[in-house]
């Protein structure tokens, strides 16, 4: 049973039937899926959702598919973690992490959007799936296209991290590295999309694809006991996720599953790719395109498609926006790993680093609930930290050799064990 009514232009409100289009032909604004919220409200309850399988599809009434998902049936419902050790370091009372670094199957939040997009592509009858990607999307499209038995063409900047290249090729896709930035990759893909009947998940399927991100927000609300955190920090690349988390919260309120939403949404970027943060700080509502230069490659989008709506989300929720340097990103990745045992990719370093900065600046108060979005896995961006985590000590397999490298501080354990034996 589907509750989708159609597509609607976010700008001029013209309506369109459900088809693979993403731009209003009248005013060139982006299209968005419209649902019958009255009907959803009548049929969907907290108890109903809670009784379902622990995947993102427990919110299927709020997703734009007409039938059961064709791929990615196990995506989502990733851990929400109360991060007490990190909270102590940051000097705050109540801190949570939403950990999509362990999302199924490709270890990033992109599995949410791609499982919707690939399933929708199958409904539309496409036989080839494609995307422009900074890496995580590439992994996910390649994997879920394989699961769906579809051919895939994936376009990425040629200088991506090795892990993201390998983690795409393994699925047997056509991977094309473009000697240029993501924004150039994206522009090329727009042109290909006009000439090939392919499902580009983040171009002609964008209205459907983007909806998958709402489940990140739904899960946060449900896992917190049907309430939302007071402060939510979200990474921004193209700017879609931040708008969809907010939309997800507002939808749950609209259909009566949340009693209210008093969250403030904060956008996080790397200083070397901060077009949305810069616009926020300047107080303007349009984006000055940039040429990104940052280790946070998954966020390196200089001309974000949803930049305008990201700014709108931040301002509407009375949040804020901040960026951190590459150095701060690495430090934040290490901090998260060493306090919570979570190895996130550079984008997670951006959200942790920005959260720390906003707390230190007094913008996020220390005594209210805070949630940090962790959207990707550190094993994919090893280059960013390989020289920053030390090296293993190599020794011969001899007890005497081991004794040579033990520090006096570590030796105290030896002595206590010896005493205990006596």
């Amino acid at each position: 049973m589907s509750y989708i009514k159609g597509l609607k232009c976010r700008e001029c409100k013209r309506e369109y039937a459900i088809k693979p289009v993403h731009v209003c032909e009248f005013c060139f604004g982006p299209l968005e899926v419209v649902y019958d919220y009255d009907e959803i409200k009548k049929n969907l309850t907290r108890a109903e959702i809670e009784g379902r399988a622990k995947t993102m599809w427990r919110y299927r009434e709020l997703l734009p598919l007409d039938s059961d998902p064709a791929v990615g049936r196990n995506v989502g419902f990733t851990p929400l973690i109360k991060a007490d050790r990190l909270a102590e370091v940051l000097g705050v009372k109540e801190l949570y992490l939403k950990n999509d670094a362990v999302n199924h199957p490709t270890l990033s939040f992109k599995d949410r959007v791609v499982s919707v997009a690939v399933s929708k592509a199958k409904e539309f009858g496409f036989e080839v799936i494609s995307c422009a990607s900074t890496g995580n999307l590439a992994n996910s499209v390649a994997a879920l296209a394989a699961e769906g038995g579809l051919e895939s063409f994936i376009f990425v900047p040629h200088d991506l991290e090795k892990g993201k290249i390998l983690g795409t090729l393994i699925y047997g896709t056509n991977l094309i590295g473009i000697t240029g930035s993501y924004d150039e990759v994206n522009r090329l893909c727009s042109e290909i999309a006009e000439n090939y009947r392919w499902a580009f998940v983040n171009i002609n399927l964008r209205p459907f694809y983007a909806e998958g991100s709402k489940t990140f927000g739904y899960e946060i609300a449900e896992q917190m006991g049907w309430r939302t955190p007071r402060h939510v920090v979200v990474p921004m690349a193209g700017g879609s996720l931040i708008t969809k988390i907010w939309k997800g919260f507002k939808e749950l309120e609209l259909i009566g599953l949340l009693d209210g939403v008093d969250s403030k949404i904060y956008g996080a970027q790397a200083s070397g790719s901060n077009p949305i943060v810069a616009a926020f700080k300047e107080g303007i509502d349009w984006i000055k395109p940039q040429r990104p230069k940052t280790i946070a490659k998954s966020l390196a989008i200089g001309n974000p498609a949803d930049g305008f709506y990201s700014l709108k989300t931040i301002r509407e929720s009375e949040g804020s926006a901040e960026d951190v340097s590459d150095e701060e990103i690495v430090e934040a990745m290490k901090l998260l790993a060493r306090t919570e045992g979570i190895f996130t990719e550079t984008a997670g370093g951006v959200t942790v680093g920005v959260t720390k900065k906003l707390i230190d600046q007094g913008i996020i108060p220390r005594d209210e609930s805070i949630l940090i979005s962790i959207t990707g896995n550190g094993l994919k961006t090893q280059e960013a930290i390989q020289d920053r985590v030390g090296r293993p000590l190599i020794i011969e397999a001899k007890f005497s050799e081991f004794e040579k490298i033990v520090t006096p501080n570590q030796r105290k354990y030896r002595e206590s064990i010896v005493q205990a034996t006596i």
Partner: protein, 171 residues
């Protein structure tokens, strides 16, 4: 006045099926005004109910996004090119950069002038080095895919080496 305005493909039929319209005005705002008076069908497509240029339409004068200059107050002069580009549609009106390397016998020929006249494209020299014997030019070419490809084929046909410039493009 003679301002060349590139019309995006979806709006072509509202501008008398033209890709490029020769327009009048001293500022971008005046040119847009002239356009919407000359081709009334364009008005509601380019401007919202408040008379503002629609948010998802970007306007460029030559290479420059007008938001970085003086917006609608950006002055224009004879020979300038204004491009109207849907922000997220992409595709139909891309600027492409190529490096042309001329063989000695072509160095003295007005090759760039020729392609601008033979094909419906607008060229803009970004950097160049031409000596007695050899020369290269990095050229930005704006125009529809078909015309662009015809121009490239023509160049190759007369012995000019054409290589795409992959980096350094930002719109």
């Amino acid at each position: 006045m003679n301002i060349r305005v590139r019309i995006p493909t979806p709006l072509k039929k509202l501008a008398g099926e033209q890709d490029i319209v020769l327009a009048n005005g001293n500022t971008v705002g005046e040119v847009i005004q002239w356009l919407t008076e000359t081709y009334p069908g364009l008005k509601e497509r380019l401007k919202d109910e408040q008379g503002e240029v629609r948010r998802f339409i970007n306007i460029y004068v030559n290479d420059e996004d007008i938001r970085f200059v003086q917006n609608l107050e950006t002055p224009v002069k004879n020979g300038d090119q204004i491009s109207i580009i849907p922000a997220i549609a992409g595709g139909s009106s891309l600027k492409r950069r190529v490096t042309l390397t001329f063989p000695p016998e072509k160095v003295k020929e007005p090759v760039i002038y020729n392609i601008g006249h033979r094909f419906k494209i607008v060229t803009n020299i970004r950097s160049a080095n031409v000596t007695e014997n050899v020369g290269w030019v990095t050229l930005e070419i704006d125009g529809e895919e078909g015309e662009y490809l015809k121009a490239i084929d023509y160049l190759k046909g007369i012995g000019v080496k054409v290589e795409p410039v992959e980096k350094d493009v930002i719109v």
